[in-house]
Protein backbone atom coordinates (compact mmCIF):
# COMPACT_ATOMS: atom_id res chain seq x y z
CA UNK A 1 0.00 0.00 0.00
CA UNK A 2 2.71 2.38 1.00
CA UNK A 3 4.44 2.51 -2.33
CA UNK A 4 1.46 4.01 -4.17
CA UNK A 5 1.35 7.66 -3.24
CA UNK A 6 0.23 9.59 -6.27
CA UNK A 7 2.47 12.38 -7.60
CA UNK A 8 -0.44 14.74 -7.00
CA UNK A 9 -0.38 14.06 -3.25
CA UNK A 10 3.38 14.46 -3.05
CA UNK A 11 3.20 17.75 -4.95
CA UNK A 12 0.54 19.17 -2.64
CA UNK A 13 2.47 18.01 0.43
CA UNK A 14 5.62 19.66 -0.89
CA UNK A 15 3.77 22.90 -1.70
CA UNK A 16 2.18 22.93 1.75
CA UNK A 17 5.49 22.43 3.52
CA UNK A 18 7.10 25.06 1.29
CA UNK A 19 4.35 27.53 2.23
CA UNK A 20 5.00 26.82 5.90
CA UNK A 21 8.76 27.17 5.75
CA UNK A 22 9.82 29.58 2.99
CA UNK A 23 8.78 32.76 4.86
CA UNK A 24 10.65 31.67 7.99
CA UNK A 25 13.79 30.71 6.04
CA UNK A 26 13.74 33.98 4.11
CA UNK A 27 13.37 35.89 7.37
CA UNK A 28 16.38 34.13 8.88
CA UNK A 29 18.33 34.78 5.68
CA UNK A 30 17.56 38.50 5.74
CA UNK A 31 18.58 38.74 9.39
CA UNK A 32 22.17 38.26 8.17
CA UNK A 33 21.82 40.98 5.55
CA UNK A 34 24.41 43.73 5.95
CA UNK A 35 22.23 46.27 4.15
CA UNK A 36 19.76 48.31 6.18
CA UNK A 37 17.42 48.26 3.18
CA UNK A 38 15.41 45.13 3.73
CA UNK A 39 14.97 44.45 0.02
CA UNK A 40 18.61 44.66 -1.05
CA UNK A 41 21.20 42.02 -0.27
CA UNK A 42 24.29 43.80 0.97
CA UNK A 43 26.43 40.85 1.98
CA UNK A 44 26.65 38.65 5.05
CA UNK A 45 26.78 40.33 8.43
CA UNK A 46 25.88 39.61 12.03
CA UNK A 47 25.71 43.27 12.94
CA UNK A 48 21.93 43.21 13.58
CA UNK A 49 22.48 40.57 16.24
CA UNK A 50 25.15 42.64 17.99
CA UNK A 51 22.85 45.67 17.80
CA UNK A 52 20.19 43.69 19.66
CA UNK A 53 22.57 43.27 22.58
CA UNK A 54 22.75 47.05 22.91
CA UNK A 55 19.02 47.66 22.68
CA UNK A 56 17.87 48.16 26.27
CA UNK A 57 14.17 48.07 25.46
CA UNK A 58 14.45 44.67 23.75
CA UNK A 59 16.70 43.22 26.44
CA UNK A 60 14.28 44.31 29.18
CA UNK A 61 11.35 42.83 27.30
CA UNK A 62 13.24 39.58 26.70
CA UNK A 63 14.15 39.27 30.37
CA UNK A 64 10.52 39.93 31.39
CA UNK A 65 9.25 37.35 28.88
CA UNK A 66 11.71 34.72 30.08
CA UNK A 67 10.78 35.26 33.73
CA UNK A 68 7.10 35.07 32.87
CA UNK A 69 7.69 31.95 30.80
CA UNK A 70 9.48 30.10 33.62
CA UNK A 71 6.85 31.06 36.23
CA UNK A 72 3.98 30.18 33.89
CA UNK A 73 5.28 26.80 32.80
CA UNK A 74 6.13 25.75 36.36
CA UNK A 75 2.72 26.84 37.65
CA UNK A 76 0.77 25.29 34.83
CA UNK A 77 2.64 21.97 35.00
CA UNK A 78 1.68 21.70 38.69
CA UNK A 79 -1.97 22.68 38.18
CA UNK A 80 -2.32 20.76 34.93
CA UNK A 81 -0.87 17.57 36.44
CA UNK A 82 -3.26 17.82 39.38
CA UNK A 83 -6.16 18.31 36.97
CA UNK A 84 -5.01 15.36 34.86
CA UNK A 85 -4.73 13.10 37.94
CA UNK A 86 -8.20 14.22 39.04
CA UNK A 87 -9.73 13.47 35.64
CA UNK A 88 -8.01 10.10 35.17
CA UNK A 89 -8.04 8.68 38.69
CA UNK A 90 -11.33 9.93 40.10
CA UNK A 91 -14.06 8.92 37.68
CA UNK A 92 -16.81 10.43 39.80
CA UNK A 93 -16.61 13.65 41.76
CA UNK A 94 -18.68 16.75 42.13
CA UNK A 95 -17.38 19.32 39.67
CA UNK A 96 -15.89 16.85 37.19
CA UNK A 97 -18.05 18.19 34.38
CA UNK A 98 -17.02 21.73 35.31
CA UNK A 99 -13.33 20.84 35.32
CA UNK A 100 -13.54 19.04 31.95
CA UNK A 101 -15.24 22.06 30.45
CA UNK A 102 -12.77 24.55 31.89
CA UNK A 103 -9.82 22.47 30.69
CA UNK A 104 -11.13 22.25 27.12
CA UNK A 105 -12.59 25.73 26.71
CA UNK A 106 -9.30 27.73 26.63
CA UNK A 107 -8.16 25.65 23.64
CA UNK A 108 -10.99 26.91 21.44
CA UNK A 109 -11.66 30.30 23.02
CA UNK A 110 -10.42 33.23 20.91
CA UNK A 111 -7.57 34.85 22.82
CA UNK A 112 -9.08 38.28 22.46
CA UNK A 113 -12.14 37.26 24.50
CA UNK A 114 -10.08 35.51 27.18
CA UNK A 115 -7.87 38.59 27.39
CA UNK A 116 -10.73 41.07 27.72
CA UNK A 117 -12.60 39.07 30.35
CA UNK A 118 -9.45 38.51 32.42
CA UNK A 119 -8.60 42.20 32.25
CA UNK A 120 -12.04 43.05 33.61
CA UNK A 121 -11.49 40.67 36.53
CA UNK A 122 -8.05 42.11 37.31
CA UNK A 123 -9.34 45.68 37.22
CA UNK A 124 -12.09 44.78 39.67
CA UNK A 125 -9.68 42.82 41.90
CA UNK A 126 -7.27 45.73 42.04
CA UNK A 127 -10.17 48.04 42.89
CA UNK A 128 -11.48 45.85 45.70
CA UNK A 129 -8.48 43.86 46.95
CA UNK A 130 -5.67 46.25 45.89
CA UNK A 131 -4.04 43.22 44.26
CA UNK A 132 -2.70 42.26 41.71
CA UNK A 133 -1.04 45.23 40.06
CA UNK A 134 -1.12 44.91 36.31
CA UNK A 135 2.18 43.69 34.91
CA UNK A 136 4.26 40.59 35.63
CA UNK A 137 1.75 39.07 38.09
CA UNK A 138 -1.36 39.48 35.97
CA UNK A 139 0.37 38.17 32.83
CA UNK A 140 1.57 35.09 34.74
CA UNK A 141 -1.90 34.44 36.19
CA UNK A 142 -3.58 34.82 32.79
CA UNK A 143 -1.05 32.63 30.96
CA UNK A 144 -1.26 29.86 33.55
CA UNK A 145 -5.01 29.64 32.90
CA UNK A 146 -4.60 28.69 29.25
CA UNK A 147 -1.32 26.75 29.55
CA UNK A 148 -2.89 24.52 32.23
CA UNK A 149 -5.30 23.32 29.57
CA UNK A 150 -2.48 22.14 27.30
CA UNK A 151 -0.61 20.48 30.17
CA UNK A 152 -3.75 18.68 31.38
CA UNK A 153 -4.43 17.20 27.97
CA UNK A 154 -0.83 16.03 27.45
CA UNK A 155 -0.47 14.51 30.93
CA UNK A 156 -3.98 13.07 30.87
CA UNK A 157 -3.30 11.00 27.76
CA UNK A 158 -0.06 9.74 29.28
CA UNK A 159 -1.68 8.84 32.62
CA UNK A 160 -4.47 6.96 30.88
CA UNK A 161 -1.96 4.59 29.32
CA UNK A 162 0.28 4.32 32.41
CA UNK A 163 0.51 0.86 33.91
CA UNK A 164 -1.02 0.89 37.40
CA UNK A 165 0.16 -2.55 38.54
CA UNK A 166 3.42 -1.20 40.03
CA UNK A 167 1.52 1.41 41.99
CA UNK A 168 -0.90 -1.23 43.27
CA UNK A 169 2.05 -3.43 44.25
CA UNK A 170 3.57 -0.55 46.21
CA UNK A 171 0.29 -0.01 47.99
CA UNK A 172 0.04 -3.73 48.79
CA UNK A 173 3.49 -3.45 50.34
CA UNK A 174 2.21 -0.74 52.65
CA UNK A 175 2.88 2.57 50.86
CA UNK A 176 0.21 5.20 51.16
CA UNK A 177 -1.51 6.20 47.89
CA UNK A 178 0.50 9.44 47.57
CA UNK A 179 3.81 7.72 48.27
CA UNK A 180 2.97 4.88 45.90
CA UNK A 181 2.12 7.38 43.15
CA UNK A 182 5.31 9.38 43.75
CA UNK A 183 7.50 6.26 43.66
CA UNK A 184 6.03 4.47 40.67
CA UNK A 185 3.78 6.46 38.34
CA UNK A 186 5.41 9.88 38.70
CA UNK A 187 8.81 8.76 37.32
CA UNK A 188 6.98 7.20 34.37
CA UNK A 189 5.25 10.45 33.45
CA UNK A 190 8.27 12.74 33.97
CA UNK A 191 8.98 13.01 30.20
CA UNK A 192 5.37 14.07 29.64
CA UNK A 193 5.75 16.68 32.38
CA UNK A 194 9.01 17.94 30.89
CA UNK A 195 7.55 18.24 27.41
CA UNK A 196 4.46 20.05 28.67
CA UNK A 197 6.71 22.41 30.61
CA UNK A 198 8.54 23.27 27.39
CA UNK A 199 5.33 23.67 25.42
CA UNK A 200 3.83 25.96 28.07
CA UNK A 201 7.04 27.96 27.95
CA UNK A 202 6.77 28.49 24.19
CA UNK A 203 3.05 29.30 24.43
CA UNK A 204 3.75 31.91 27.08
CA UNK A 205 6.75 33.31 25.20
CA UNK A 206 4.66 33.70 22.03
CA UNK A 207 1.53 35.23 23.45
CA UNK A 208 0.71 38.74 22.30
CA UNK A 209 -3.03 39.27 22.63
CA UNK A 210 -3.68 38.15 26.22
CA UNK A 211 -0.50 39.84 27.48
CA UNK A 212 -1.46 43.12 25.79
CA UNK A 213 -4.80 43.16 27.56
CA UNK A 214 -3.77 42.17 31.06
CA UNK A 215 -0.42 43.96 31.20
CA UNK A 216 0.00 47.36 32.74
CA UNK A 217 2.18 50.37 32.05
CA UNK A 218 5.88 49.62 31.97
CA UNK A 219 5.55 45.88 31.51
CA UNK A 220 6.06 45.08 27.83
CA UNK A 221 6.78 41.49 26.88
CA UNK A 222 8.89 40.61 23.86
CA UNK A 223 5.91 40.00 21.52
CA UNK A 224 4.43 43.35 22.59
CA UNK A 225 7.64 45.19 21.69
CA UNK A 226 7.91 43.32 18.40
CA UNK A 227 4.28 44.06 17.55
CA UNK A 228 4.70 47.77 18.06
CA UNK A 229 7.86 47.74 15.93
CA UNK A 230 6.33 45.58 13.18
CA UNK A 231 3.31 47.87 12.86
CA UNK A 232 5.78 50.45 11.56
CA UNK A 233 7.06 48.05 8.88
CA UNK A 234 9.80 45.50 8.27
CA UNK A 235 13.08 46.34 9.98
CA UNK A 236 16.36 44.42 10.03
CA UNK A 237 16.84 44.25 13.81
CA UNK A 238 13.39 42.69 14.20
CA UNK A 239 14.52 40.11 11.62
CA UNK A 240 17.44 39.18 13.88
CA UNK A 241 15.28 39.07 17.00
CA UNK A 242 12.59 37.03 15.28
CA UNK A 243 15.18 34.53 14.02
CA UNK A 244 16.56 34.11 17.55
CA UNK A 245 13.10 33.49 19.01
CA UNK A 246 12.16 31.07 16.24
CA UNK A 247 15.35 29.09 16.89
CA UNK A 248 14.72 29.03 20.66
CA UNK A 249 11.13 27.87 20.18
CA UNK A 250 12.26 25.35 17.58
CA UNK A 251 14.77 23.82 20.01
CA UNK A 252 12.12 23.66 22.78
CA UNK A 253 9.63 21.95 20.49
CA UNK A 254 12.21 19.49 19.16
CA UNK A 255 13.21 18.48 22.71
CA UNK A 256 9.55 18.20 23.70
CA UNK A 257 8.86 16.09 20.62
CA UNK A 258 11.83 13.85 21.37
CA UNK A 259 10.69 13.38 24.98
CA UNK A 260 7.18 12.49 23.87
CA UNK A 261 8.46 10.01 21.32
CA UNK A 262 10.64 8.41 23.96
CA UNK A 263 7.66 8.08 26.31
CA UNK A 264 5.67 6.50 23.52
CA UNK A 265 8.51 4.03 22.85
CA UNK A 266 8.78 3.18 26.57
CA UNK A 267 5.06 2.63 26.69
CA UNK A 268 5.16 0.25 23.73
CA UNK A 269 8.07 -1.61 25.29
CA UNK A 270 6.19 -1.88 28.60
CA UNK A 271 3.16 -3.16 26.75
CA UNK A 272 5.26 -5.80 25.00
CA UNK A 273 6.89 -6.85 28.27
CA UNK A 274 3.47 -7.08 29.90
CA UNK A 275 2.25 -9.39 27.16
CA UNK A 276 5.09 -11.82 27.67
Amino acid sequence: MQDRISPFLITVLAIGIAILYIPILVLIGYSFNASALVSVWGGFSTSWYTQLLHNGQILDAAWLSLRIGVAVSTGSVILGTLAAIALVRFPVFRGRFLLTGMVNAPLVMPEIITGITQLLLFVWMLHVLSWPHRGFTTIVIAHIAFCTAYVTITVQSRLQTADRSLEEAAMDLGSGPVRAFMDTTLPAIVPALASSWLLSFTLSLDDLVISSFVSGPGASTLPMVIFSKVKLGVSPDVNALASLIICLVGVCVLIAGYLMRRTERDRLRDAQLAER
Binding site: Q2, R4, I5, F8, V12, L13, G16, I17, I19, L20, Y21, I22, I24, V26, L27, Y30, V38, S39, L79, L82, A83, I85, A86, F90, F93, L99, M102, A105, V108, P110, E111, I112, T114, I116, T117, Q118, L120, L121, V123, I141, A145, F146, T148, T152, L199, L205, D206, I226, F227, V234, V238, A242, I245, I246, V249, G250, V253, L254, G257, R261
Partner: protein, 319 residues
Protein backbone atom coordinates in the same frame (compact mmCIF):
# COMPACT_ATOMS: atom_id res chain seq x y z
CA UNK B 1 4.83 -1.70 86.43
CA UNK B 2 1.49 -1.66 88.17
CA UNK B 3 -1.62 -2.75 86.39
CA UNK B 4 -3.06 0.73 86.70
CA UNK B 5 -0.04 2.30 85.00
CA UNK B 6 -0.19 -0.30 82.25
CA UNK B 7 -3.86 0.50 81.76
CA UNK B 8 -3.07 4.19 81.44
CA UNK B 9 -0.36 3.59 78.86
CA UNK B 10 -2.56 1.16 77.01
CA UNK B 11 -5.39 3.64 77.08
CA UNK B 12 -3.18 6.42 75.83
CA UNK B 13 -1.93 4.24 73.01
CA UNK B 14 -5.43 3.33 72.08
CA UNK B 15 -6.36 6.99 72.09
CA UNK B 16 -3.49 7.88 69.77
CA UNK B 17 -4.24 4.98 67.46
CA UNK B 18 -7.91 5.83 67.39
CA UNK B 19 -7.24 9.44 66.50
CA UNK B 20 -4.65 8.42 63.92
CA UNK B 21 -7.08 6.02 62.34
CA UNK B 22 -9.79 8.65 62.25
CA UNK B 23 -7.44 11.04 60.52
CA UNK B 24 -6.43 8.31 58.06
CA UNK B 25 -10.07 7.62 57.31
CA UNK B 26 -10.75 11.32 56.82
CA UNK B 27 -7.76 11.64 54.51
CA UNK B 28 -8.80 8.58 52.53
CA UNK B 29 -12.29 9.96 52.06
CA UNK B 30 -11.41 13.59 51.44
CA UNK B 31 -7.77 13.51 50.38
CA UNK B 32 -8.69 13.55 46.71
CA UNK B 33 -9.97 17.10 47.11
CA UNK B 34 -6.39 18.27 47.66
CA UNK B 35 -5.81 17.16 44.07
CA UNK B 36 -9.12 18.23 42.56
CA UNK B 37 -9.66 21.61 44.19
CA UNK B 38 -6.54 23.60 43.20
CA UNK B 39 -7.09 23.36 39.42
CA UNK B 40 -10.86 23.76 39.72
CA UNK B 41 -10.58 26.84 41.92
CA UNK B 42 -7.86 28.38 39.79
CA UNK B 43 -9.72 27.97 36.52
CA UNK B 44 -12.98 29.01 38.13
CA UNK B 45 -11.56 32.27 39.46
CA UNK B 46 -9.26 33.17 36.58
CA UNK B 47 -11.08 31.71 33.60
CA UNK B 48 -14.81 31.23 34.21
CA UNK B 49 -15.68 34.06 36.61
CA UNK B 50 -14.15 36.65 34.24
CA UNK B 51 -16.88 35.76 31.75
CA UNK B 52 -19.51 36.50 34.38
CA UNK B 53 -17.75 39.81 34.86
CA UNK B 54 -17.86 40.66 31.18
CA UNK B 55 -21.55 39.80 31.16
CA UNK B 56 -22.13 42.07 34.12
CA UNK B 57 -20.18 44.98 32.67
CA UNK B 58 -21.97 44.65 29.33
CA UNK B 59 -25.08 45.79 31.21
CA UNK B 60 -23.32 48.75 32.84
CA UNK B 61 -22.98 52.34 31.69
CA UNK B 62 -19.80 54.12 30.71
CA UNK B 63 -18.50 56.39 33.46
CA UNK B 64 -15.62 58.80 33.76
CA UNK B 65 -13.71 57.05 36.51
CA UNK B 66 -11.49 54.03 37.18
CA UNK B 67 -12.68 51.41 36.23
CA UNK B 68 -14.61 53.23 33.47
CA UNK B 69 -18.10 51.83 34.04
CA UNK B 70 -20.95 52.17 36.53
CA UNK B 71 -21.97 49.56 39.10
CA UNK B 72 -25.02 47.60 38.10
CA UNK B 73 -25.66 46.60 41.71
CA UNK B 74 -25.85 49.40 44.25
CA UNK B 75 -27.07 49.71 47.83
CA UNK B 76 -29.09 52.83 48.54
CA UNK B 77 -29.00 54.53 51.99
CA UNK B 78 -32.25 52.81 53.00
CA UNK B 79 -30.53 49.44 52.45
CA UNK B 80 -32.31 48.55 49.24
CA UNK B 81 -30.26 46.82 46.62
CA UNK B 82 -30.73 48.35 43.21
CA UNK B 83 -30.11 46.39 40.07
CA UNK B 84 -29.88 48.63 37.06
CA UNK B 85 -29.48 46.76 33.80
CA UNK B 86 -28.59 48.87 30.83
CA UNK B 87 -29.55 47.15 27.59
CA UNK B 88 -28.33 50.13 25.63
CA UNK B 89 -24.94 48.52 24.86
CA UNK B 90 -26.59 45.60 23.09
CA UNK B 91 -29.00 47.92 21.29
CA UNK B 92 -26.02 49.96 20.21
CA UNK B 93 -24.56 46.87 18.52
CA UNK B 94 -27.59 46.84 16.24
CA UNK B 95 -27.69 50.56 15.54
CA UNK B 96 -24.04 51.07 14.64
CA UNK B 97 -23.53 49.02 11.52
CA UNK B 98 -19.77 48.58 12.02
CA UNK B 99 -20.45 45.72 14.45
CA UNK B 100 -22.85 43.84 12.21
CA UNK B 101 -20.58 44.34 9.20
CA UNK B 102 -17.48 43.18 11.05
CA UNK B 103 -19.27 40.06 12.34
CA UNK B 104 -20.39 39.15 8.85
CA UNK B 105 -16.99 39.98 7.40
CA UNK B 106 -15.21 37.86 10.04
CA UNK B 107 -17.54 34.92 9.40
CA UNK B 108 -17.01 35.20 5.65
CA UNK B 109 -13.22 35.46 5.92
CA UNK B 110 -13.03 32.57 8.40
CA UNK B 111 -15.30 30.42 6.25
CA UNK B 112 -13.38 30.84 2.99
CA UNK B 113 -9.99 30.47 4.68
CA UNK B 114 -11.23 27.25 6.30
CA UNK B 115 -12.34 25.89 2.91
CA UNK B 116 -8.96 26.71 1.33
CA UNK B 117 -7.11 25.19 4.30
CA UNK B 118 -9.20 22.04 3.93
CA UNK B 119 -8.52 21.78 0.18
CA UNK B 120 -4.78 22.18 0.79
CA UNK B 121 -4.59 20.30 4.11
CA UNK B 122 -6.56 17.19 3.13
CA UNK B 123 -4.16 15.98 0.42
CA UNK B 124 -1.23 16.83 2.73
CA UNK B 125 -2.65 14.81 5.63
CA UNK B 126 -3.56 12.01 3.23
CA UNK B 127 -0.05 11.89 1.81
CA UNK B 128 1.50 11.81 5.30
CA UNK B 129 -0.88 9.06 6.41
CA UNK B 130 0.20 6.92 3.47
CA UNK B 131 3.94 7.06 4.18
CA UNK B 132 5.85 4.64 6.40
CA UNK B 133 5.77 5.08 10.18
CA UNK B 134 9.27 6.55 10.40
CA UNK B 135 8.66 9.05 7.58
CA UNK B 136 5.37 9.93 9.26
CA UNK B 137 6.99 11.00 12.49
CA UNK B 138 9.48 13.21 10.65
CA UNK B 139 6.77 14.82 8.49
CA UNK B 140 4.55 15.36 11.52
CA UNK B 141 7.36 17.14 13.29
CA UNK B 142 7.80 19.30 10.19
CA UNK B 143 4.10 20.26 10.40
CA UNK B 144 4.07 20.70 14.20
CA UNK B 145 7.11 22.96 14.35
CA UNK B 146 5.41 26.00 12.76
CA UNK B 147 2.27 25.20 14.82
CA UNK B 148 4.23 26.14 17.93
CA UNK B 149 6.23 28.98 16.42
CA UNK B 150 5.01 32.43 17.27
CA UNK B 151 2.01 33.61 15.30
CA UNK B 152 3.22 37.15 15.34
CA UNK B 153 6.64 36.24 13.98
CA UNK B 154 5.22 34.02 11.27
CA UNK B 155 2.84 36.75 10.14
CA UNK B 156 5.78 39.12 10.12
CA UNK B 157 7.81 36.62 8.09
CA UNK B 158 4.97 36.41 5.57
CA UNK B 159 5.06 40.17 5.21
CA UNK B 160 8.67 39.82 4.05
CA UNK B 161 7.46 37.61 1.19
CA UNK B 162 4.40 39.48 -0.04
CA UNK B 163 5.30 43.13 0.39
CA UNK B 164 5.92 45.22 -2.70
CA UNK B 165 9.69 44.67 -2.66
CA UNK B 166 9.35 41.17 -1.18
CA UNK B 167 10.59 37.86 -2.45
CA UNK B 168 7.42 36.99 -4.39
CA UNK B 169 7.35 40.21 -6.40
CA UNK B 170 11.11 40.14 -7.00
CA UNK B 171 10.92 36.57 -8.27
CA UNK B 172 7.93 37.23 -10.53
CA UNK B 173 9.52 40.38 -11.93
CA UNK B 174 12.80 38.59 -12.54
CA UNK B 175 11.03 35.77 -14.31
CA UNK B 176 9.24 38.34 -16.44
CA UNK B 177 5.77 37.06 -15.47
CA UNK B 178 4.74 40.49 -14.27
CA UNK B 179 6.07 43.93 -15.11
CA UNK B 180 4.57 45.84 -12.20
CA UNK B 181 4.92 44.63 -8.61
CA UNK B 182 1.69 43.09 -7.31
CA UNK B 183 0.02 44.93 -4.48
CA UNK B 184 -0.78 42.20 -1.95
CA UNK B 185 0.00 43.84 1.39
CA UNK B 186 -2.93 45.63 3.03
CA UNK B 187 -5.48 43.85 0.87
CA UNK B 188 -8.01 41.09 1.47
CA UNK B 189 -5.73 38.62 -0.32
CA UNK B 190 -3.02 39.25 2.29
CA UNK B 191 -5.49 38.51 5.10
CA UNK B 192 -6.47 35.21 3.46
CA UNK B 193 -2.84 34.28 2.85
CA UNK B 194 -2.02 35.11 6.47
CA UNK B 195 -4.82 32.98 7.90
CA UNK B 196 -4.09 30.03 5.62
CA UNK B 197 -0.38 30.20 6.34
CA UNK B 198 -0.91 30.47 10.11
CA UNK B 199 -3.65 27.88 10.55
CA UNK B 200 -2.71 25.19 8.02
CA UNK B 201 -1.09 22.95 10.70
CA UNK B 202 -4.34 23.12 12.74
CA UNK B 203 -6.09 21.54 9.78
CA UNK B 204 -3.49 18.92 8.87
CA UNK B 205 -2.97 17.43 12.35
CA UNK B 206 -6.56 16.32 13.17
CA UNK B 207 -7.06 15.19 9.55
CA UNK B 208 -3.95 13.06 9.80
CA UNK B 209 -5.19 11.56 13.08
CA UNK B 210 -8.36 10.21 11.40
CA UNK B 211 -6.78 9.30 8.07
CA UNK B 212 -4.05 7.32 9.82
CA UNK B 213 -6.64 5.12 11.55
CA UNK B 214 -8.58 4.58 8.34
CA UNK B 215 -9.12 0.95 7.49
CA UNK B 216 -7.48 0.56 4.08
CA UNK B 217 -8.97 -2.90 3.54
CA UNK B 218 -12.31 -1.16 2.96
CA UNK B 219 -10.75 0.70 0.06
CA UNK B 220 -9.32 -2.50 -1.33
CA UNK B 221 -12.70 -4.15 -1.03
CA UNK B 222 -14.29 -1.26 -2.94
CA UNK B 223 -11.57 -1.50 -5.60
CA UNK B 224 -12.08 -5.26 -5.91
CA UNK B 225 -15.77 -4.66 -6.44
CA UNK B 226 -14.89 -2.44 -9.38
CA UNK B 227 -15.16 1.09 -7.98
CA UNK B 228 -13.08 3.68 -9.81
CA UNK B 229 -10.67 5.62 -7.56
CA UNK B 230 -12.85 8.74 -7.37
CA UNK B 231 -15.87 6.63 -6.28
CA UNK B 232 -13.74 4.97 -3.60
CA UNK B 233 -12.74 8.40 -2.34
CA UNK B 234 -16.29 9.76 -2.30
CA UNK B 235 -17.96 6.60 -0.92
CA UNK B 236 -15.35 5.30 1.53
CA UNK B 237 -12.51 7.67 2.42
CA UNK B 238 -14.44 10.91 2.64
CA UNK B 239 -17.28 9.71 4.92
CA UNK B 240 -14.83 7.88 7.20
CA UNK B 241 -12.62 10.96 7.58
CA UNK B 242 -15.57 13.24 8.42
CA UNK B 243 -14.65 13.56 12.15
CA UNK B 244 -11.18 14.79 11.19
CA UNK B 245 -12.59 17.19 8.59
CA UNK B 246 -14.95 18.70 11.12
CA UNK B 247 -12.38 18.89 13.95
CA UNK B 248 -9.78 20.47 11.65
CA UNK B 249 -12.27 22.91 10.14
CA UNK B 250 -13.43 24.07 13.56
CA UNK B 251 -9.84 24.46 14.76
CA UNK B 252 -9.24 26.82 11.84
CA UNK B 253 -12.66 28.48 11.75
CA UNK B 254 -13.06 29.37 15.45
CA UNK B 255 -9.75 31.17 16.04
CA UNK B 256 -9.83 32.69 12.55
CA UNK B 257 -13.08 34.56 13.33
CA UNK B 258 -11.46 36.18 16.35
CA UNK B 259 -8.15 36.85 14.61
CA UNK B 260 -6.60 40.18 15.46
CA UNK B 261 -2.92 40.10 14.51
CA UNK B 262 -3.40 39.10 10.87
CA UNK B 263 -5.97 41.72 9.80
CA UNK B 264 -4.05 44.40 11.72
CA UNK B 265 -0.63 43.70 10.26
CA UNK B 266 -1.49 42.39 6.79
CA UNK B 267 -4.91 43.83 6.08
CA UNK B 268 -5.98 47.27 5.01
CA UNK B 269 -8.57 49.59 6.56
CA UNK B 270 -11.36 47.61 4.84
CA UNK B 271 -10.46 44.36 6.56
CA UNK B 272 -12.43 45.15 9.67
CA UNK B 273 -12.61 41.89 11.58
CA UNK B 274 -14.35 41.60 14.91
CA UNK B 275 -11.07 41.11 16.81
CA UNK B 276 -9.84 44.46 15.51
CA UNK B 277 -13.08 46.20 16.43
CA UNK B 278 -12.83 44.78 19.96
CA UNK B 279 -9.24 45.89 20.31
CA UNK B 280 -10.00 49.43 19.12
CA UNK B 281 -13.06 49.65 21.36
CA UNK B 282 -10.89 48.75 24.34
CA UNK B 283 -7.67 50.58 23.68
CA UNK B 284 -8.90 53.34 21.39
CA UNK B 285 -12.32 54.36 22.63
CA UNK B 286 -11.96 52.90 26.13
CA UNK B 287 -15.65 52.06 26.07
CA UNK B 288 -15.57 48.94 28.22
CA UNK B 289 -19.31 48.29 28.48
CA UNK B 290 -19.73 48.30 24.70
CA UNK B 291 -16.59 46.19 24.26
CA UNK B 292 -17.95 43.68 26.80
CA UNK B 293 -21.26 43.58 24.95
CA UNK B 294 -19.38 42.93 21.66
CA UNK B 295 -17.38 40.16 23.36
CA UNK B 296 -20.50 38.54 24.85
CA UNK B 297 -22.38 38.71 21.55
CA UNK B 298 -19.34 37.26 19.79
CA UNK B 299 -19.16 34.44 22.34
CA UNK B 300 -22.83 33.61 21.80
CA UNK B 301 -22.16 33.30 18.07
CA UNK B 302 -19.23 30.97 18.79
CA UNK B 303 -21.16 28.57 21.02
CA UNK B 304 -22.52 26.68 18.00
CA UNK B 305 -19.16 25.93 16.30
CA UNK B 306 -17.51 25.17 19.68
CA UNK B 307 -20.25 22.66 20.55
CA UNK B 308 -19.84 20.97 17.15
CA UNK B 309 -16.09 20.77 17.68
CA UNK B 310 -16.40 19.32 21.20
CA UNK B 311 -18.91 16.74 19.97
CA UNK B 312 -16.67 15.49 17.19
CA UNK B 313 -13.39 15.64 19.09
CA UNK B 314 -14.79 13.53 21.95
CA UNK B 315 -16.15 11.12 19.34
CA UNK B 316 -12.72 10.93 17.80
CA UNK B 317 -11.11 10.26 21.18
CA UNK B 318 -13.52 7.44 21.86
CA UNK B 319 -12.88 5.82 18.48
Amino acid sequence: MSDAAADVIDGRNRGVNGRGKARGEWLKRNGKWFIILPPILYLLVFFLIPFAFALMISFADTAVRVPPFTDILSVSPDRHIHLSLNLGNFQYLFTDEVYGLSYVYSLKTAFFSTVICLLLGYPMAYAIARTSKSTQSVLLLVIILPFWTSFLLRVYALEGIIRETGLLNSALLWLGIIHQPLKIMHTTVAVYLGIIYSYLPFMVLPLFATLEKLDYTLREAAADLGSPPWRIFVDVTLPLSMPGIIAGSMLVFIPAIGEFVIPTLLGGPDNLMIGRVLWDEFFGNRDWPVASAVAIAFLVLLVGPIAVYQHYSTKQLEA
